[in-house]
Amino acid sequence: MRNFLAAAAALALGACATASADSPRTASDSSASSESVPTIDRNPYPSTYRPYGSVPTLITNANIYDGAGNALMGGQVLMQDGKIAAIGQSVDAPADATRIDAAGKWVTPGVIDVHSHLGNYASPGVAALSDGNEISGPVTAEVHAEHGIWAQDPGFLRALAAGVTTLHVLPGSANLFGGRGVTLRNVPSTTVQGMKFPGAKYSLKMACGENPKRVYGSRGRMPSSRMGNFALYRMTWQKAVEYDRKWDRWDEKVEDGTAKAKDMPTRDLQMDTLRGVLDGDILLEQHCYRADEMAFILDMAKEFGYHVAAFHHAVEAYKIAPMLAEANTCAAMWADWWGFKMESYDGIGENIPFVEAAGGCAITHSDDDLGIQRLNQETAKAMADGNRAGLSIQPETAWTWIGENAAKAIGLEDEIGSLEVGKRADVVLWNGEPLSVYARPEQVWIDGALMFDVNRPELRPVSDFELGQPGEGDVK
């Protein structure tokens, strides 16, 4: 609380960015050419994450929010081979399954945070660990959040104890094109690759509004205004369209065997990221607060032919909620942040529920190392504000804001976000109704493996940084 402004500025910059890790685009790799042509490794930093050991586990007598909008009282969930194997009032389970009686307790899918800077802006918040914005130019689509992540950030483990099993880490919002974001499994790891969500798409983080124009305008560079923001966006996208066309022609030649190595286009890492967006291989995540700017961003996406997966922060989403629903663009929002900067001045507590009410894809996000530990409480806050305004949003619906809607915004709706059979067994057992301020996770499973247990100190991981320090291993 010491430095109100400095903190506000830091988190304002913190807000923004994404992209995916194991990009599937490999056209240049599968050469049928008669002449040997160079290939490009599209996945040079592959995930090394493997699910940790799991045993068949049956949770009984559980009250369940399934993350897809359903509630089930006194039901059962079976985890087997790292997947949700069954869910229902009563399910068949192998005789040797570990049984957990959840009477009086609740079960939800693992919480997803689509907007985190853990690892990029780690604790302790010293300059030496400040790696979330490449503030050397407004267009840095070539940088990867993953290369700035410090896996020993204690924030990951706090988030695990709070039920967060998947998070998307984005570059900050200093730049118009901030770079690639990455989706992580929230498992303790020595390497970032050991956390990367296998097969998840990268994102490209872009930023609207005050931050880019302030950061570069104050250095006498473009952009120094919102006009400049858009001009530089469009100049860059136009280059990307031409780059994409050039590489498409090359890929065709490779396909039909007429490619000659000397004709291979020059590779541009910045343009590679934008090309991925144009081709749908990289998700576009747009930091944007104001309604009028979001409307222009949607027009620009049409102009250049890409899709905006989600607006992040979207403090004025409630003013254009039907437009966002129509565009099939999610809005990832805080429950109640407002007033820390001009473009957040119109924040209201009903933002998330008003997006929900318009049929949109509403998401509760954190953008914060403390907020990520209580996305359930923030969701409850927003739901209640919406209901006091005349809506009737049920708790199981609200849980989709950190469940399937969040999964959709990072392209993983087929794998996580709800307790549907076949999805990854990311499961949280809560000690009470999970929208309550008093509820805390008792156990957290990732891919069916028990990664946190509040009753077993040996299942409370401690980051390398906190070893040998006061409070090591404490209940935080």
Partner: protein
Amino acid sequence: MKRFLAGLTLGAAALAAMPAAAQNIAITNAKIAAGTGAAPVEGTVIVRNGRIASVGAGAAPAGMEVLDAEGAWVTPGLVAPYSQLGIVEIGGVSQTNDTEAEDSPYSASLDVALAVNPNSTGIAVSRLEGLTRAATAPSPSNDLFGGQGAVIELKANDPDLVVKPRAFQMIALGEAGARYAGGGRLAVFTRLKDAFGEAQAFARNPNGYDFGRSEDSLLTRSDAEALVDVIEGRTPAMISVDRASDIRAALTLKEDYPRMRMILLGAAEGWLVADEIAAAGVPVITTPMQNLPSRFESIASTQSNAGRLVAAGVQVALSDIGNSTVSPRLAQEAGQTVAQGRIPGAAGLTHEQALAAITSVPADILGLEAGRLIAGAAGDVVVWDGDPLETRSAPTAVFIDGVRQPMTSRQTELRDRYNPAAADTNLPPQYSRSR
């Protein structure tokens, strides 16, 4: 400030803006959580002449206006022991941000009292969350001393919210203090004691101070004067400090300046020196959610801090992080401590203790007769639609000094304008207003 205004002849405009008179009201069928640490009781709260008249099982006096709470929770108005309400409208817009004055030659004598804007929109937003009184504090920005904070009440339509000007002096120790003192902790107490020495010299002989003034003094005359109140204990020092060793160092000030009163702000590692803080009789304002080593000086941060301090006998008030909204989320912070108490190996507060830590305890630390539902206390009462510590709950009625407050803010107006449940018109939303 009340006494300042009282000395003026009030013109017609000033009279028109005078606050509404306190009403006498009986809030019946209430689940009364008094904020004193006592368990809730069913009953009636009677507010008369702006103060709590009685709390008990009795019926409403004949003829008195009645608010039937229908079994709802009724608490004292929440009290924020630390905030920047009224002195910042938008954090990132410097013209509206009066939390610091980095380029000023002054430090300890800076004073927020006349900088408070009663029309700041965060005040109504906070009131709708049950907050009725708050310390509003400047941030140190050019020296260890941040200046003098005030206590405000969050009344609507009141031109003067300051109930206690110069209520405390902000002092930064630890990493921030080291920065302002010249770059390292080794300069902090040199700077502090030099400044206090100047204040003592000023106190001994205010009229002759300029003659006998040390030539290498780094303190202005007005700052020296402001610090006299601190070393003589009339104005408590609100000391921002987190590391256990920095807390212990702060406590040694009591040896050199025995009349000085201290309040520790932050105290992230307070639990490591809880017994020493308790022995010194120094109250603590801490932020439950802060459980990360966000700085090297807060390595041992845990949400158990408040619980462990209270168990050691320390007076603990709770505060919000305060970097993402102007409006402190005190109830949610208090809720964390209750949740923490249910975790094996952790320490927390009971619901009653947690509520006290955002009502009567901060009121006591700030020297206010408020923050509790007992006869004689300020008539600040909140009726809730649920458990006040749940994030799902909100006030349905708020009284300050017995005056029923409007349940509107700039945010509720935006909400009503864009509410999908509202009637659609053919005109743009900008034609729609609720008042």
